[in-house]
Symmetry: D2
Subunit: 339 residues, 4 copies
Amino acid sequence: MIVAMQEGADEALIQQVIEHLVKMGFEVHRSTGARMTVLGAVGSGIEIDIRNLELLPGVQEVHRISSPYKLAGRSFRPEGTVVRLANGIGIGGNEIIVMAGPCSVESREQLFTTAEAVAKSGAKVLRGGAFKPRSSPYSFQGHGEDALKLLREAGEKFNLLVISEVMEISQIPPMLPYVDILQVGARNMQNFNLLRELGKVRKPVLLKRGIAATLEELLLSAEYIMAGGNYDVILCERGIRTFETYTRNTMDISAIPIIHKLSHLPMTADPSHGTGRRDKVSPMARASVAAGADALLIEVHCNPDKALSDGAQSLFPEQFAKLMDELRIIAPAVGRKIV
Amino acid sequence: MIVAMQEGADEALIQQVIEHLVKMGFEVHRSTGARMTVLGAVGSGIEIDIRNLELLPGVQEVHRISSPYKLAGRSFRPEGTVVRLANGIGIGGNEIIVMAGPCSVESREQLFTTAEAVAKSGAKVLRGGAFKPRSSPYSFQGHGEDALKLLREAGEKFNLLVISEVMEISQIPPMLPYVDILQVGARNMQNFNLLRELGKVRKPVLLKRGIAATLEELLLSAEYIMAGGNYDVILCERGIRTFETYTRNTMDISAIPIIHKLSHLPMTADPSHGTGRRDKVSPMARASVAAGADALLIEVHCNPDKALSDGAQSLFPEQFAKLMDELRIIAPAVGRKIV
Amino acid sequence: MIVAMQEGADEALIQQVIEHLVKMGFEVHRSTGARMTVLGAVGSGIEIDIRNLELLPGVQEVHRISSPYKLAGRSFRPEGTVVRLANGIGIGGNEIIVMAGPCSVESREQLFTTAEAVAKSGAKVLRGGAFKPRSSPYSFQGHGEDALKLLREAGEKFNLLVISEVMEISQIPPMLPYVDILQVGARNMQNFNLLRELGKVRKPVLLKRGIAATLEELLLSAEYIMAGGNYDVILCERGIRTFETYTRNTMDISAIPIIHKLSHLPMTADPSHGTGRRDKVSPMARASVAAGADALLIEVHCNPDKALSDGAQSLFPEQFAKLMDELRIIAPAVGRKIV
Amino acid sequence: MIVAMQEGADEALIQQVIEHLVKMGFEVHRSTGARMTVLGAVGSGIEIDIRNLELLPGVQEVHRISSPYKLAGRSFRPEGTVVRLANGIGIGGNEIIVMAGPCSVESREQLFTTAEAVAKSGAKVLRGGAFKPRSSPYSFQGHGEDALKLLREAGEKFNLLVISEVMEISQIPPMLPYVDILQVGARNMQNFNLLRELGKVRKPVLLKRGIAATLEELLLSAEYIMAGGNYDVILCERGIRTFETYTRNTMDISAIPIIHKLSHLPMTADPSHGTGRRDKVSPMARASVAAGADALLIEVHCNPDKALSDGAQSLFPEQFAKLMDELRIIAPAVGRKIV
C-alpha cells in the first residue's frame, strides 16, 4: 500500500500515519523528497479498508498495490489453468469447448431432441436449467430434481457432460450426482455463503460475472471458492448493465483478454444472456472466440417459439450448426481448434 | 399490451399475430389506419416474454402497458401505506423515522454507547449487523446470534426498535425473536427464494435496491414478498453503480419521488452506503429528507476509527446529533416532522 | 506520481524506470523494502500519459498523486470563490441564487410573462435559450439574436440578470452585449476550442457537467477556461446517464458536496434537465439546496403545454412560487438564505 | 404513436386526448376494449415531445412507434450502403477495409515510416490527427495544416487514402483538399452545427459514437448529416463509458450487428480508443471482424514509446502485421475478405 502525504504535511502528521500503519502490522518504507513524503506499507494478510487511511490528517491519497485476490491471480499459476472434466475434456486448453442446450429443461422430448442436435454439431457439454430464478413471482420456476435426472440421462445417451445452475446451498447435495459442472448465476456472484460452500465441493464451478460486477469483484468471488480448496473455477462473461437499452445487457468482450491477463482461470462467454436476442447470439459468439474465449455457453432449443423461458434468445438447432462451422474457421486465428 | 405491425404488413401476417395472442389467452382489439395496424391485447395474469412477439413476422414493436407488478403499484393503495411498528411508530406517515447504529455489532460497549447516543439525538430504530456479507473471504464476518441478543437488549434499554440484515433463509427463524424489521441487502434484492420466505413472515421487511437494479426491478422484488402475504415492505435507496468513481456508488435521490409516484410503499434512504464517505453522509441525508424520504438509515459508531467494518462511512455521535438538528429544520418544507 | 515495481523486479529494471522518469524531468525518490521498491516521482508541469509507464517492464502499478487540475483545485483558493455579478449579486456566497425562465425564448409575451412571474417569486437571474442544440435535425432551433435582445429587455424591466447558452465560438461576440453569464451546455463540456475562447472573455461562465463526464473531467474543463485568465467559472450538475431509464438522466446530488471539497468554484444544480419531468423538479431542487448548492437553474414557462421545447420539464409559475417558499425553509439548515 | 389510456379513463378524457392529437396534425385510430382504450396516432413529419402527452390527464403511457430517423434507417436502403472512396475502394462491401496510422502526425519521418509499414501489411487508408482535442489544456494540440499536407503526401507515396478528424466548422475548408474521409470524433457526435455543415460537403464522413450515446442517438446524428444531402456516412463504435474502469471504455461489439439491423450505413470499429491499451487492441479488432464490422480504424506508430499522444494504445508495426494475418483467417467466417 502506498500512502502519499499532502505537500505541507509536517513531521508530526507523518509520524502519526507511520505509527498507525505499524500498529496495523505493516512494515513501512519512507521516501521524503523536497516537496512530498511517500510511505510504502508492506504486509501480507492484513485486512484493511483504505478509506480509513484516507481520512487521517495529512494524508492526500492511498493506493492499494497488491491485488486483493491471491489464488485467482495470474501470478499464482502463470502458465494458466486447464480445468479437467470427465471424458478427458479440458477447459482452458487448446480446444475451445462449446456448452449448449435449452434455458430450462421442460420435457424429455424437448431435452433429448435438443441434446441430440447440439451433440451432432460439436457441443461437448449439455446445459439446462433445473431451478430457475425469475424476476417475476408469477413465472415458471423449473422442474427441479426431475430435470437433473433427465439432463444426466440425455448426457449419457449423446456423450455430453452436464452443466446446470445451483441457486442456493440446499441444492448442492441433490445436484452433485447429476452434474459435471455447477454453474453460479450472475445474481449469485456475490452470494458469499453459497460460494464458500462451493469451495468445499470437488467439482468444477462455472462462475458468471454479475451484471454490475467489476472484473476485480469477479476475481474476488472466485477467490472465495478457491479459498475453500476448490481450484477448478471457470469464469464467464454474460453482459453488464449499461445505459444502452437496445440489448438487455452489453456484452463486455474485452473482459476475455483482460481476465486472461489478470488471472490463470479459464474464461467463458455466454452470448445468449449477453445479448438477449437470438439474432445477436451468433455474431457475439464469433466475437468471443476471436477475442480468445476458452469456452462458450449457448442456449439452443428445438422449438424456441414454444420455450417456457428465454425462447427469444435461444438458437434454432440449424442456426447453432451454422455457427459451429463459422467458429471452426475462426479458431485457428487464435491458435485454437474446435473438434 | 400493444403490438404495432410494420407499415407494409399484409392481412395474413396480421391474422397470424392475432391468432397467436388469442391462443395465449388475450382479448384482442384491432385498430387499422391508412398506414398501420395496431393491436391492443388485454388479459390479466398472463405471463409473457414480449421478445417472443417481437420476433413474429410483420411485427414492428411491442409495448407492455400494464406494469408487471400489481400489489406494489400505487393503484393498489392510492392513499399510501404506513408500515406500523411496535411502540406506535409508523414508517410512511407524518413523522420521518431515523434508524441509526453501527455497521456491525462488535461488542456490548460499542453497541450500548452508540445506541445511547443515537437515541438521545432522536433515532427511533437501532441498526446493527449480525451477519456480514463481505466481498473478501478474508474479512470479519459478524458475531451472529450473540449480536442479535445485544441489539435487543440495547433496544430495550434505550427505547429503540431493532433492524438487522438477513442474508439467507436459514437465518430467518433465529432472527425473528430479536428484530422488529428484517433488512434485505442490496446483493440479495433478487434472491427470490429468500424473498419468497420473507413473504411468509409477519414482520416488516426493509428491501434495499440493488446497485444495478432499476426501480421497476425493485418493485418486482417487493411484489415477491407481498405475493406471499407480507404487505409490510419498506423500500430503500442506497446508491447505484455508475461510471463516476469518486464515490462508491451514486445515490439516486430522484428514486424517492419516483417510488412515491409508482408505489404506495414507504421509501427510505441510506446515505451511508449511498456515498461510502463520512463527509458526504450528512449532505445526502439532508437531500433525502428534502426530496421526501419517509425514513433514513444511517451508520453511526461511537469510535469510527476503530470500527471493524465501514468505519469510513460511519458518523461520529456528535455529527449525527448535528445532522438531526438540520433535518428538523428541513422536514417542515415537505410537510413532515422529526420528533 | 508513484511507481510501484513488481515484487521480483531486479535492479536493472528499477534503474531503467528511474532513468526514464529522470529523462522526463522528474525528481525521483526511491524506497526499497524487503519485498518491493516504490518510486516517487515529483515534478510540476510535466505532461504525461501514465499508461506509458505502466507498460515498462517490471512496473506493477502507477498512480498519479497530484490532481491534473491546478487553478480549479480547492488548494488554489481554500476560502472558496464568490463569482460576482452585476447588481452586487454573488454566486458562492451566503445567498443562494435562483436562475429561472423558459427553455427557449419563443415570443415577447411568453418571455415577459414568465420573467415577471419568476422575478416576483425571488429569482435573480433570467434564463432563456436563443440558440438551441436539438438532437433531431427537424426540431425548432431557436430565435438567435432576437431572443437575446428580448432577454436583455425583460431582464432590465424586471431587474433580473441574464444567462443564455453559447454553442460555438462565433456566437460569443454577438452574445456579449446581452448576457451576464455565458452558459456552456453539457454537450459542449469538452468542446475545448470553445472553452479556450471563453477563457479570453471577461464575463462569468456557467459550465455544465456532461452526461458522461466524471467530476475530474468537469474540473479539467473548468481549468481550460481558467488557464485563459477567466476565473469566474460556475459549475453545474444536470444529471448523468445511467442504466435507470425512468428519468432522462440520474441527477448526481452528491456531486455538490464533492465539488465543494475538490474545488473552490461555486456549484449549481439544474433539476429541470437533471430529471426531465416536471413533477420531479421541485423535490430535486429542494434536495440540491439541502446538499449545499450555491445556485439553482430552473425551467419555468408561463404555459408549459404550449412550449416549443422541453415543456414537460418546465414548472408552472405557481409551482415555482411554491418551490421558492419551500427552499426558504430549507436554506437555514445549511447556513444559507434565499432573499 | 400509441397512447394507452388509464383503465378508468372516462369518455371526456379520451375525447380530450383525441382532440389534442388531431390539433397536432395526427390522424387518430381508436380501439376500445372492455377495460382499456388505445389510440393510434399516425402522421409524418410532426415533431413531438412525447412527455407532453404523458402529462395529459387520463393517459397511462405513450410509445413512439416509428423511429425518429428516416434516411439513416434500414428501410431507406434495405440492400445496404457501400460508401465509395477513391481508388475503387468501398466501405460496406465484400472487402473489409483497414484504416491505420498514428494518433497524431508528429513528423515527416514518423508518418512516412508508419505509413509504409501499414500499407505493406494491407491497410488501405492512412489515419493521422492534425487537430487534437485534448482533455488537459496543457497537452500537445496537433500540427494543423502542416500535418494534413504530410498525410496527403504519405498517402500518395504509399497508395493510401487519407482520413483525419475535423473538430469544428472552420476546419472543414482547409481539410477538404487533403483528406478522403472526414472523421467526427466521439465528443462531437452531437455537435449539431458541425454535423449540419458536413451535410453540405461531398466527401464521406466517419461518425464516431459518443461515449454516452445510445445507438438511436448515433443514428439521429447520422440523420443530421444525411438531411443536408451527404449520404456517405460511415458509423464507428469506439467504446462507451460504463462502471468498469479496467479499460478506458467498454467496447460495445454488439453495436456492430445492431447497427446493421437498424441502418443501411456501414459500421466501423476502433479498437484502439475502444480499449485504450495496446495489448487489448488485437483481440478486440479480431472480435469486431468476427461480429461483422465493415472496416477497422487502428492506431499504429513506428515508435509508440515516443508518441506524443496515445502511444499506450498504438500497435507496433509488427503487431499490426500479425493482426492483419489473423484477420485474414477470420474474414471468410463472415463471408468477407481482406486483400
